[in-house]
């Protein structure tokens, strides 16, 4: 078995999920300059709602793929509504307050959601049912499961659709304009508040999908999962250059690979001193390094702006 190739495959799967979540951070940051620390919790809610829907429908005997689809059809609107509420009541009133205020509000929302989730779903880890038959393919001495293939393709397709929306549609152009200068965008007739809401809601839809993917691939969901996942995805967004859409996709993928390869080799690297359960180290090494050496991230500051 080829460990290197295997870790690449695992890394791409993990990275695709990070990328989906990182997009939510980066889009909101791009438009409001706000780090929406509650975003990880939205992923968590997505995963747990998906879990609930699937286990509730399991006795119906419907094919698992259909269950997953139904789970997403419920989880996505729930997350979107949640994001709408968060933006409307936790952030909008603080739009013109000092930067620290919405940040504290974000952390407050985050804690609130964790506690609500704990009350609803308890403290235990919830195991997801198998969504796809446990098929796998051999490539070059490594294995890729059907679930992994579907995860990668679905994430890639979703991101392509998002890129199309942002780059090619009038609505996407309005989002970019709002991100660049909301006051001028309003002069053009862009309903800025609605665009901001839309940005949160789209990010939440991606979060719901990511939540389902986490549950399906790592078969666990619990009330606290949003914290670490959110932090990692935020790291991915910073790595790519926060505010930059392509950067978030790239940063997510890269972080997934770094973590996966790092986790795969950490035992060899440290002579057995640290095991693969220390793989989280890499995300934070990346975060610190980026912040110290290249705060703009990989894709940051590429466009020259003249006065």
């Amino acid at each position: 078995m080829d460990i290197f190739l295997q870790q690449i495959i695992n890394g791409v799967v993990l990275g695709s999920i990070y990328a989906l979540v990182a997009l939510g951070y980066t889009m909101v940051y791009g438009i409001l300059g706000l780090i929406n620390f509650a975003h990880g919790e939205v992923v968590m809610v997505g995963a747990l709602v998906a879990y609930t829907v699937m286990t509730a429908l399991l006795p119906t005997g419907l094919p698992p793929v259909l269950l997953a689809l139904l789970a997403l059809l419920v989880a996505a609107p729930v997350c979107m509504a949640l994001a709408w509420i968060i933006e409307r009541y936790a952030y909008r009133p603080l739009r013109h307050a000092p930067k620290l205020a919405p940040l504290i509000s974000a952390i407050g929302v985050s804690i609130l959601l964790q506690n609500l989730a704990m009350m609803i779903w308890g403290r235990s880890y919830h195991a997801f049912p198998d969504i796809l038959p446990p098929l796998h393919y051999d490539i070059g001495g490594a294995q890729i499961t059907l679930l992994q293939v579907v995860t990668i393709l679905l994430a890639a397709g979703t991101m392509a659709a998002l890129a199309w929306l942002i780059q090619r549609t009038a609505m996407g152009q309005a989002m970019r304009a709002t991100a660049e200068n909301p006051a001028i965008a309003a002069l053009m007739g862009v309903p800025v508040n609605r665009i901001i809401t839309l940005t949160f809601v789209i990010g939440a839809a991606l979060a719901a999908l990511a939540g389902l993917m986490v549950g399906a691939n790592y078969s666990v969901a619990h009330y606290y999962m949003g914290f670490m996942l959110g932090l990692k995805a935020f790291t991915a967004a910073v790595l790519g250059g926060i505010g930059n859409i392509t950067g978030a996709m790239l940063g997510g993928l890269l972080l997934g690979l770094i973590e996966s390869l790092g986790g795969g080799y950490i035992e060899d690297l440290t002579g057995g001193f640290l095991g693969s359960n220390y793989q989280d180290i890499f995300a934070f090494l990346v975060l610190i390094s980026v912040l110290v050496f290249r705060p703009g991230g990989l894709m940051g500051e590429r466009v020259s702006e003249r006065a």
Partner: protein, 242 residues
Amino acid sequence: MLEVRDLHLHYGGIQAVKGISFSVGQGELVALIGANGAGKTSTLKALARMLPQATGRVHLNPVDGPAIDLMRLPAHELVTHGVALVPEGRGVFARQTVLENLKLGAFRVQDRHLVQQRLDELLERLPRLKERASQLAGTLSGGEQQMLAIARALMSAPKLLLLDEPSMGLAPIMVDRIFELITAARDSGVSILLVEQNARLALKVSHRAYVLESGRITLTGNSADLLQDDRVKAAYLGETVC
């Protein structure tokens, strides 16, 4: 076309506009001149609803419809009533292409053919922009950006065009180009409120003018007369009066 009564505006404790009244007639080009900090930009921003703290009565009286109370509209609805502002410092979207900037000017126009038609027309008139259509607006020269900002406003086919110092920081040749655009808009019947520090130029192209000093209108009249006025000459035209 535009009726402003007793417009007040303050920033915190600073009173920037102290109860001014003025009007712009249908098809008229009216200049608003004044020194730095007189309150010109503040006035335009208030009219464009970018400063919610402004108070006063601002009405739009289109020939073909009922009067509209601008102070009741959110900023993003103004353009649908035919009001467009070309802001100080141009305000083009640097990270979007020239073409995208222009299209955004017609963001609220539903009819795609109409948008395309206006686009073709403007690009035909402005070859400099046409050549650079797919370039990012941030890479244009200052003059080209100003041209783009005005063209973008024209994409909404405004009835009232508010211009904030379109000549600022431009070489004379570019100023001429920009003013050709403005006078063409004037001649096609667009009502225009022009804020300028270049008073001579503003008075030459406008029908009437107001002089703003520390948030108050101190002088008003026909532009031709103001060009001969000793006070204006001394304060804004840089001429020594014997």
